[in-house]
């Protein structure tokens, strides 16, 4: 156990001190020598041992972030390989969607377009991130089965890849938000300093959710369609196209808002961007749900991690 931890530190050290110093082997046709490593894999049911291996898994993923980044970049590039506009389609399709829906729903809801459009844009862009992460997470391990079964790699790499890939998509969509805000003169509020912690919470949540849903999706093959329909319902139930204020006079069920984890998560980013006052309630709820998610994911990941390759 100690040895594995030591060797990990050693590898890290070698990486920092001498990244280019791998000498050629004897006879030297294979030019690059792999660094020496030591790994002990013992079948153990003790939580301590399982926790250690799970922690190593996460630490290795953190070390491999250039790999995660490149995998995500290739994913996006592959999706649009051969298309004329390439990843610009991400930005363009969001812009078209926001433009079309914005004017239609502003009329349906009797809203002023100038106020409604920024709200809708930011909501749709954020929701797109949440729902795509949720649906792609369920297949993150099953789709990487060739990789998982051919090389020992930290499993959390595949969850991080889902998050990173969707961050890249979000980056393309933020352009639309910026343009709409600039055109309509919407200014983020004074409370926008809460954006950074909000963003970090989103990242952590997305990573945890990807791990959890990925493990469930690998073990139970019914999970992907179940999650897809849950997210579809969540889209209509959560204030995304509509804001709670718009429907308050109709006796809206407060549970949709007050207990809805998606609403809390959206609100901690959306409210400061739209210049609304800081709302501690949403933050409390978001943090509470996130802690619950981390706890459940932690338990399941520590327990199910060694079994994952058997499920694929």
């Amino acid at each position: 156990m100690v040895d594995a931890a030591r060797s990990f530190r050693y590898r890290l050290l070698m990486l920092m001190i001498a990244p280019g110093q791998d000498s050629a082997g004897p006879g030297s046709p294979p030019p690059i020598a792999a660094p020496a490593t030591r790994l002990v894999i013992a079948a153990s049911h003790s939580w301590r041992e399982r926790l250690r291996l799970a922690a190593v898994d996460l630490a290795d993923t953190a070390r491999l972030w250039p790999l995660v980044w490149t995998l995500s970049l290739f994913d996006i590039r592959l999706r649009y390989r051969g298309s004329l506009l390439g990843p610009l389609w991400l930005t363009l399709s969001t812009a078209i969607m926001v433009g079309a829906i914005g004017f239609l729903y502003a009329r349906l809801f009797h809203q002023d377009v100038r106020a409604y459009l920024p709200f809708l844009t930011i909501s749709l862009v954020l929701w797109n991130f949440i729902s795509t992460v949720a649906s792609e997470a369920t297949t993150c391990f099953t789709q990487a089965d060739a990789m998982i079964r051919s090389i020992r790699m930290p499993h959390s790499v595949h969850a991080a890849r889902v998050v990173m890939r969707n961050m890249l998509v979000l980056g393309h969509n933020v352009v639309v938000v910026a343009v709409v805000f600039a055109l309509l003169g919407t200014r983020p509020g004074l409370d926008s300093f809460t954006l950074l912690p909000g963003f970090l919470l989103w990242l952590a949540d997305a990573f945890a959710a990807s791990l959890l849903l990925g493990l469930f999706g690998a073990r139970f093959r019914d999970i992907p369609p179940i999650i897809a329909s849950v997210m579809q319902i969540a889209f209509y139930v959560t204030p995304i196209m509509w804001s709670p204020a718009m429907l308050a006079h109709r006796g809206l069920a407060r549970a949709f808002v007050d207990l809805n984890p998606f609403y809390a998560l959206l609100e901690i980013i959306r409210a400061p961007l739209l210049g609304q006052p800081f709302e501690p309630g949403a933050w409390h709820l978001a943090v509470l749900y996130s802690l619950g998610l981390f706890l459940i994911t932690g338990l399941i990941f520590v327990r199910a991690r060694p079994r994952l390759p058997y499920w694929l």
Binding site: T70, R152, Y310
Partner: protein, 260 residues
């Protein structure tokens, strides 16, 4: 010094794939209070049972045995892909496993992109990645093809790329399944040369094969697997003499003598 210790390792595959895998079954079973019974009666395939051996630098181990004897599962377990349900594996040294020709490559990405991913997995710098790409291109003889998606390659080219990629990063322990034999004759010579320099560097080679000739040529130790257990462990000549019918054994010895 590289070392690989397999200590009393057992691996079993749960069979959820057909019956109990679906969530519906699990939920209904839980609702009707049969979950405990279900998990106790769960069907498993015992792929490996109490396998033990130790490999040191310079060992070239062969695995032989009928289909389904557990050879590939054992290689995967030694690579750390399947974590054993009992026993332990100690791997001292960098492992490369050449288990399937695809090597976990993404067929839609180009050869160069797949090489880059492999390099990043090993934590390489940009300069090292370029060096690796050049080395693989030269060794596999695929220069202009590396800019094309891997799915456009012939199966022999995929094997070349996989082998070149896996051995360009000099491992201390190399685990190989027999598909390497899919290469053409000139490539096989190159591959043999590279493996020889690698093994001469006092490292470990583990090879699973059905071919007695290959085993006699490459290995200095042979394990005969049967039903997930070690049936015999010894020098290739000893084990093959027990494994093969006498006439085939004589033939294999003769063929290996000619090749060497």
């Amino acid at each position: 010094m590289a070392q690989l210790i397999v200590d009393n390792v057992s691996v079993s595959f749960p069979l959820y794939h057909t019956e109990s895998r679906s969530l519906k079954k699990t939920v209904f079973a839980a609702a009707s209070g049969r979950l405990g019974e279900d998990s106790r009666h769960r069907l498993t395939v015992e792929a490996l049972r109490g396998v033990s051996f130790t490999l040191n630098s310079g060992d070239r181990l062969g695995f032989i045995g009928s289909n389904g004897a557990g050879k590939t599962t054992l290689l995967r377990t030694m690579a750390g892909i399947y974590e054993p349900v009992a026993g332990s594996i100690t791997i001292d040294g960098a492992v490369t496993a050449l288990l399937d020709p695809g090597q976990g490559m993404n067929p839609d990405l180009t050869g160069n992109e797949n090489i880059r991913l492999r390099a990043l997995f090993n934590g390489y710098s940009e300069a090292q990645i370029r060096q690796l790409q050049e080395d693989v291109a030269a060794f596999a003889g695929l220069d202009q093809f590396l800019a094309l998606p891997v799915r456009t390659y012939s199966s022999g080219m995929v094997v070349r790329l996989g082998f070149a990629m896996a051995t360009a990063i000099l491992p201390q322990i190399l685990l190989m399944d027999e598909w390497i034999l899919a290469g053409d004759a000139s490539f096989l010579d190159k591959a043999r040369h590279r493996l020889e320099t690698m093994v001469r560097g006092a490292e470990i080679l583990v090879l699973s094969s059905h071919s007695p000739t290959i085993i006699l040529e490459w290995c200095n130790r042979l394990i005969w697997m049967e039903n997930g257990m070690v049936k015999a462990d010894g020098s290739p000549e000893e084990v093959l003499a027990a494994y093969l019918p006498p006439d085939q054994f004589a033939h294999a010895l003769e063929a290996a003598g000619k090749a060497a």
